[in-house]
């Protein structure tokens, strides 16, 4: 057979040319899909109008008229449905982001413990994983919520924690710090501390690269970031007062309030997702060839640095993609909040707002768009991380 490379493409009619054919087929397919979508949308609008179901987004600026138990931005019963949407969204983001942090910490710890040489420790870690990941999340949320409520005392028998905090089945009430003007110095000291720590780390790395000598980066950074602002804080005369939670006839007011619904949801989501993350971490670590560890040991590295410097960085390349999935799952699962009364996006918007306005199509479409956006952003960030740490072939 003759080598076709370098010779001109044979002249064929566009009908027989595979490039033309596939282009035409794809254009036709796009047109058909667009036509179907257009038909579905206009038909839906027609039918909604005929059934006299309100459509459009006019409801966004109407008065909501209902109360929400946890709001990160100012909200009253006189606020709009649009405001209620933002309240719900922020509540979702709050519980999801904190959940991701906690689930990651617990998950990494359990995952590494599963590989411990201590049989008791590794068995306990494995038992945690097996029990938690095999029970439905909704069941666990209801369990935690009811367990939290049942275990905590009634309002009248509140536990007072030294320092002014109060704990009962209405929540955890912490004194709210109110900072004086001298707090600016403390913040400035903190900023300087962070810059100093980064500079020291940079210097220590260069010194190690040049001379091989290591410096106590951790201790220096800790004293710059924590101890320095603390010293300034005390020197400035402790410029802080506390608003104490106060007992009213029915409820405690003032202070910072952590609702049991929020605690139960955060707890349940973190523990549940951590079990999956633990498996991801375990698999990731086991994917790193045993030879890497042996090589590290033969260079004289102790097990700690071996894990930290050799194994985990390689394992991360295996871990990150499935870890991203777990983060997405956690965010989406936070919508189960509705069962335990935490006002997340689904409860506030897809629940109450949809019901009060009756506009299912619009509200569900917005909610779907929001979750899609959150998921795409999360996975985008994780991909960014992945690309930075991927094996670079040079």
């Amino acid at each position: 057979m003759a080598d076709a490379r370098g010779t001109a493409r044979p002249q064929v009619s566009p009908i027989n040319d595979p490039r033309w054919r596939s282009a035409i087929v794809q254009v036709l397919l796009c047109l058909v899909i667009a036509w179907l979508a257009y038909g579905a949308i206009t038909n839906a609008a027609d039918n909604l109008a005929r059934a006299r179901i309100a459509s459009g987004f006019d409801f966004w600026n109407s008065t909501a008229g209902f109360d929400i138990s946890q709001t990160l931005i100012p909200y009253t019963t006189q606020s709009t449905y649009g405001r209620a949407f933002w309240v719900g969204l922020l509540n979702t983001l709050l519980v999801a982001s904190l959940g991701i942090v906690f689930a990651t910490i617990i998950g990494f710890a359990i995952g590494i413990l599963q590989l411990s040489k201590n049989v008791l420790v590794s068995r306990l870690a494995a038992a945690y994983v097996e029990i938690i990941r095999n029970l439905p999340l909704l069941l666990q949320l209801l369990f935690w919520y009811n367990a939290v409520l049942k275990a905590l005392p009634n309002l009248r028998e509140s536990i007072t924690i030294p320092g002014g905090a109060v704990l009962n089945n209405r929540g955890l009430f912490l004194p709210r710090p109110i900072f004086g003007g001298a707090m600016d110095f403390v913040l400035a000291a903190f900023g300087l501390g962070v810059i100093g720590a980064i500079a020291f780390r940079h210097w220590a790395r260069r010194r190690q690269a040049l001379t091989g000598e290591q410096s106590p980066v951790f201790i220096v950074a800790l004293s710059l970031i924590v101890v320095l602002p603390l010293v300034v804080f005390v020197a400035a005369g402790i410029p802080v007062t506390f608003e104490q939670p106060e007992m009213g006839r029915f409820n405690i007011s003032g202070g910072i309030e952590i609702l049991p619904e929020f605690a139960a949801l955060l707890f349940g989501l973190s523990i549940y997702t951590a079990a999956f993350i633990a498996e991801v971490v375990r698999a990731g670590i086991q994917a790193v060839s045993q030879g890497q560890t042996e090589a590290a040991f033969s260079l004289g590295l102790r097990p700690g640095p071996t894990l930290r410097l050799i194994v985990i960085p390689q394992a991360m390349r295996v871990i990150v993609p499935p870890l991203t999935n777990q983060y997405l799952n956690l965010t989406k699962n936070s919508s189960l909040a509705v069962a335990i009364g935490y006002p997340d996006l689904v409860q506030v918007f897809t629940g109450t707002v949809l019901n009060q306005t009756g506009q299912a199509v619009e509200v569900v479409a917005i909610t779907m768009a929001v979750y899609l956006t959150i998921s795409l952003i999360t996975s985008g960030l994780m991909n960014l991380y992945n690309r930075r740490f991927a094996l670079k072939e040079r």
Binding site: A40, I53, N355, A360, V364
Partner: protein, 338 residues
Amino acid sequence: MKRAILSLALATTIGLAGSAAEAQTLKSVQQRGVLNCGANGNLAGFGLPDAQGNWTGFDVDYCRAIAAAIFNDPTKVKFVPLTAKDRFTALQSGEIDVLIRNTTWTSSRDTTSGMNFTGVNYYDGQGFLVRKALKVNSALELSDAAVCVQQGTTTELNLADFFRTNNMKLKTVTFATSDEAVKAYDAGRCDAYTTDASALYGERLRTASPDDHVVLPDIISKEPLGPSVRHGDDQWFDIVRWVNFMLINAEELGVSKANVDAQMKSDNPEIRRLLGVEGKQGEAFGLTNDFAVRMIKAVGNYGEVFERNLGQGSPLKISRGLNALWTKGGLQYAPPVR
């Protein structure tokens, strides 16, 4: 999840099914051979399946009455248990033919939710359940109280209105179902639980020790409850509306489950028209002339339905109050059959 599936179904049926909302409901119910009735699956007195799966309740009997009117068989009902927040989507999307689930008739639901209320089968009002130990005598003393409430209800809105107009501070804790709301209230999460007064008596029985709880005397809203159907099907609307009117007229005329056969021979022209002995009222609905007879044989008249499920014949022991006939000082009044 159920919500998302329902909404998706709504979007696709509405998006692709052409003009589905025409006057077809009666025909499709007859072809299907069973009435899909959206009911409360969790409220003693109104809608609750027992251990054997037999549904009982005031609203449930209305579903049975419609089935009896159409099929001459009160068992040809498929009960679809719905939470407060899923009920409208279920009706809009066609999953149910009629919604009879202690649902309050309001202007916005009537105009923008694609539904029509056919009448009032129960005049209700919103009340509060509190612990006796709190020593609260009136809802006006509840300032700063935490209140548990079910989501997607008029209750949620009235609660906020009531506290605002009376300058009281409110902490609402909202749950998807009444079950979870009552449980949380019972566990001490809230000082009060609020819903329609009729339901409070049933919910009180579900707390760990009903005697420790009391229903406050205040009624803070009007809650006219009644069956609703989709917009755009006048024939079906008329049928569901007149099932209620026929039951009320039957009580007013003294026609009951026990005497309906004997009453067919009555000389009273009003009774004769009600029971289809005279005139062709039933055919005008697309049914047969004796459809009221079948309904009354199946569930009895309005008073019988009330007493059996809510009144003295039930654990709830709710007095007729506003729901007495207009002839006895109440509000229940049905247009005449003629």
